[in-house]
Amino acid sequence: MAGILKSQHVRNYLRDPSALIGSILLLIFFFCAIFAPLLAPMDPYDLMTVDLGDFLLPPAWMDGSVSAFPLGTDDQGRGILSTILYGLRTSLIVGFSVVIISSAIGIVMGMLAAYYGGVLDAVVMRLADTVFAFSTTLLAVLLLGVFETRGVATVIFAICIANWVKYARTTRGSVLEIKDNAYVVAARSSGAGDFRILFRHILPNALPPIFVVMAVDLAVAIMLEATLSFLGVGVPLTEPSIGMMIAIGKNYIYAGMWWLTLFPGATLILVVVAINLFSDWLRDELNPKLARQT
């Protein structure tokens, strides 16, 4: 683990402009999401502060705008800027929860499958094949289509059910490579139990490729949440979501009210691009093939 933070990596990081831009953007987005209640001009989901009379106002630099709404308002009189800030929270909460929960399940299942093999391995891998064939997006849409009540937690749950196999597969691959290494055999012959071998000796060395998957997956999960909310099977109307904002804005693009879609859309793209820039750097740094060459 400590090897990951070796000075070479830090130097490469500082020399890589796209990694720098990506992580600075990400930090800004995290900051905005965490402090949304303080930064946002209004709470768009508090009925006391929302005034229906402020509906469909244009952004600040256009005629007929109101200075309290720098990016305009939607059809309910909610400020676009405020809704984006609150929506960003939902995006990041869903993104991080999905990555953490599905990686935890996937890593454990992948480790057990690779270490013990046999029926467990066969079942996990067949399950993984099947889920891959259907794709995470399709499974999540279908699962949410079946659920009676939908909320942030259900969205996270539905994505995780389809998503953990990705981690199981990656973990299994790297554990299979590691488990016959001399140091694992040494640990076993010195009397270490399976649990200790798996978590102390194998897992730390299997983690680097999993970190890369996690970084990419954060972007995927955020896009998926937006897609589900856009379709109307994700986060309910009463909660902020960037995907939902775009779905509402879609009804007004023919009326020339582009700010309802373009601002949340651009935010979503920027978040995903920032994560992808960062994960590109991470992949280059942690890729054992490239590391061995240097």
Partner: protein, 321 residues
């Protein structure tokens, strides 16, 4: 090979059984079909009649067996909303989805592989850089946003392409096609590009990665040394070997295409299966949802098996016992 095929088919059947069981159980425990069928204002007596006439009063396992029996005969039950055969409803909309998917696959294949070759042959040029930057956006913009942006530019701002429906269609037997009229083609452009967007970027990147690897191989150097034309070296010798994994990955991600077709059809009000699925979800029209899931499962599993077999056929190194 034959044993492998049989094994795969059996596996496929097991998956289908599992899917049907999960569908069945989930729909018995979420929502009350009696309420859906009889309506909100039905009396207790009317509800009881519905329960008996649809067989909902029988034990679970009998209901499941009769459900499977019906499915095998092609009887998936009737839509709660329109009382039309669920399978017929979906099959009627299938041509629209298949035409859209087919057009999108063609676009992503021709452009993805084509641009991938261009980028790998001239890797340092301005064009290559622009294409690669574009591909990063292709994988960073979710499908629904690609669709909305295309509508904003081409339908709202430039007013050159329609963003709604299939346009003029022609009925040929059971197949209603939009690909025989100019209007139909005009209508398919935006949805097809929306649906192909993500896959195009993935294929481009795969082709580029594969070409870069293959172009530095010894046999390519030999081909150049023999004095073959660049056309022959790049397309016949290099691309051929790159295409096998590219096609495989494209085929295996068919499920993704089905998922994104739901999104695309919603944006463009495309009268296909995905659009029907989403409407049915909002109306809790369970027979239609179950039929869609089962049908999608059959299609996706079939394509997966076909891709595996083609892969084995194309690559003599792979032999399945």
């Amino acid at each position: 090979m034959a044993t492998y095929l049989i094994k795969r088919l059996l596996q496929g059947i097991v998956v289908l059984m599992a899917v049907s069981l999960v569908c069945f159980i989930m729909f018995r425990y979420t929502g009350d079909p009696v309420l859906m069928l009889a309506g909100k204002y039905a009396t207790q007596q009317e509800r009881e009649m519905v329960r008996v006439s649809y067989g909902l009063d029988r034990p679970m396992y009998i209901q499941y067996v009769s459900f499977i029996g019906g499915v095998l005969k092609g009887n998936f039950g009737k839509s709660y909303i329109s009382s039309v055969d669920a399978l017929d409803m979906i099959l009627e909309r299938m041509p629209a989805t298949l035409e859209l998917a087919f057009t999108a696959i063609c676009i992503s294949f021709i452009l993805g592989v084509g641009l991938g070759v261009v980028v790998s042959v001239w890797p340092t040029g301005l064009v290559a850089r622009a294409i690669m930057a574009g591909s990063i956006f292709g994988i960073s913009i979710p499908t629904f946003l690609i669709g909305i942006l295309l509508v904003m530019v081409f339908s709202v701002y430039l007013e050159v392409l329609p963003s709604f429906g299939r346009g003029e269609t022609v009925q040929i037997g059971f197949w209603r096609t939009g690909l025989l009229t100019a209007d139909g083609w005009k209508h398919i452009v935006l949805p097809a590009f929306t649906l192909s967007g993500y896959q195009l970027a993935v294929l481009l990147r795969l082709t580029r990665a594969g070409m870069r690897e293959v172009l530095s191989e010894e046999y390519i150097k030999t081909a150049w040394a023999k004095g073959l034309s660049p056309f022959k070296v790049i397309l016949k010798h290099a691309l051929r070997n790159v295409l096998i994994p590219v096609v495989t990955i494209a085929g295996l991600s068919f499920g993704e295409l089905v998922a994104f077709s739901i999104v695309t059809e919603t944006i463009f009000q495309w009268p296909g299966m995905g659009n029907l699925l989403l409407t049915s979800i909002f109306e809790t029209d369970q027979p239609v949802i179950v039929t869609y899931i089962m049908l999608a499962a059959v299609i996706i599993l079939t394509i997966n098996i076909l891709v595996d077999l083609t892969y084995a056929f194309l690559n003599p190194k792979i032999r399945y016992e």
